[in-house]
Symmetry: C3
Subunit: 131 residues, 3 copies
C-alpha cells in the first residue's frame, strides 16, 4: 500500500491547485475583477498571488517528489510529500485571511520540499555511483 | 497502440504551451510591450492571460493524466486527455478573438480534466484497497 | 550510468526554479515590494519576469524531456536537457543583469527544448507505427 503514497500526494496536489484556482474565480466574481485583468481589488490580488505562488512551488515539488519516489523510499517520499501538501494548504488558508499569516505554512511546506529534494538527490547520487 | 495515447496527449500539451507562448511573443512585438512589462496594451494582456491560464490548467492536467494513465485505462485516459487539449485550443483561440467567447472551450477542457481526475482517483482508490 | 542522466537534468531543473524563486524573494526584500504586489520596482519586476519565464519554459521542457527519455535515447535526451538547463541559467543570469542580454541564453535553451521535443516526437511516432 505504501508504494501508492506518492500517487496519493500527486492527487492531493492536483486538488490543491483546483482549490487555489477556485478561490481566484470566486474573488473575480465577488470583487468584480473582469478577465483578463489580474489586479483591481486587494482581496482578488491576494487570492491570485496565493494561486501563483502555489503553482511556482508545485513545479519545484512534483519533479522533486518523482526523484524521491524513484530513487529513494516511496513511503518516506510520500510522508515528506504530505508535509508539503499540509504546509501549502495552511499557507493558502492563512494568506487568504491575512498576508502576515502566510509564514507558518510556507516554512512547513519548505521543510517538506527540502526533504523530498534531499531524498531524491541522495538516492540519485547513489544510483550514479553504483553505475 | 492505445497504450501510447497518453504520450500523444503529452506531446500535444507541450505544443499547446508553445502556441500560447508564441502568441504572447507576437503580441509583445506587435503592440510594443517591452519585457519585463506584462501590461500596457489590452490585446497583449489578453494573450498573456491566455498563456497563464493555460499554464495553470496544464499543471492540474498533466499530474491528473499521469494518475489516470497509471491507475486506470490508458485508452480512456488518452481520450479524456484529447478532450482537454481540444477544449484548451478552443479556449485559447476563442479568448484571443474575444474574452466573452472563452467559455465554451473552458467548459469542454474542464470536462476533460474532471474525467482524467475522476479516473485517476478511482483507480488509485482501488489500488489502495487491494493493497 | 547514462540512463540516470535525465534524472540529473530533472534535479538541476528543480534547483534552477529554487534559484529564480530565491532571486525574487531577495528582490522583494531589497527593493521593499511587499507581497502580494508583483510590481513597484524595475529590478523586482525583472527578477519576477525571470522566474515566470523560467516557469513557463519548464512546463514545456519537463514533459518533452519525459517523452524523449521514454521514447528515445536517455543519453541524448539528457545531453539535450543539459543544453536547456545551461541556456536557462545563462538566460536568468544575463536577464537579471540587463534585459538586453537575455537573448543568448534564450536561444541556447530553445535549441535544447527543440532537441528533446524532436527526439520525443520522433520516438513516439516510431512507437505508434510499430504498434
Amino acid at each position: 500500500m505504501f508504494q501508492h503514497l506518492p500517487a496519493v500526494v500527486v492527487l492531493l496536489t492536483v486538488l490543491l491547485q483546483c482549490g487555489t484556482a477556485y478561490a481566484v474565480g470566486r474573488a473575480r466574481a465577488l470583487y468584480g475583477v473582469k478577465a483578463p485583468a489580474t489586479s483591481g481589488h486587494p482581496l482578488f490580488e491576494r487570492a491570485f498571488r496565493v494561486q501563483m505562488n502555489t503553482l511556482e512551488s508545485t513545479l519545484m515539488f512534483l519533479p522533486a517528489l518523482w526523484l524521491a519516489a524513484t530513487y529513494s523510499a516511496p513511503l518516506w517520499s510520500g510522508i515528506a510529500g504530505l508535509v508539503w501538501v499540509l504546509g501549502r494548504v495552511w499557507y493558502a488558508v492563512g494568506y487568504l485571511r491575512d498576508p502576515a499569516r502566510r509564514e507558518g505554512g510556507f516554512i512547513v511546506a519548505a521543510v517538506g520540499l527540502l526533504a523530498v529534494l534531499g531524498m531524491g538527490a541522495i538516492g540519485l547520487g547513489k544510483a550514479l555511483l553504483l553505475g
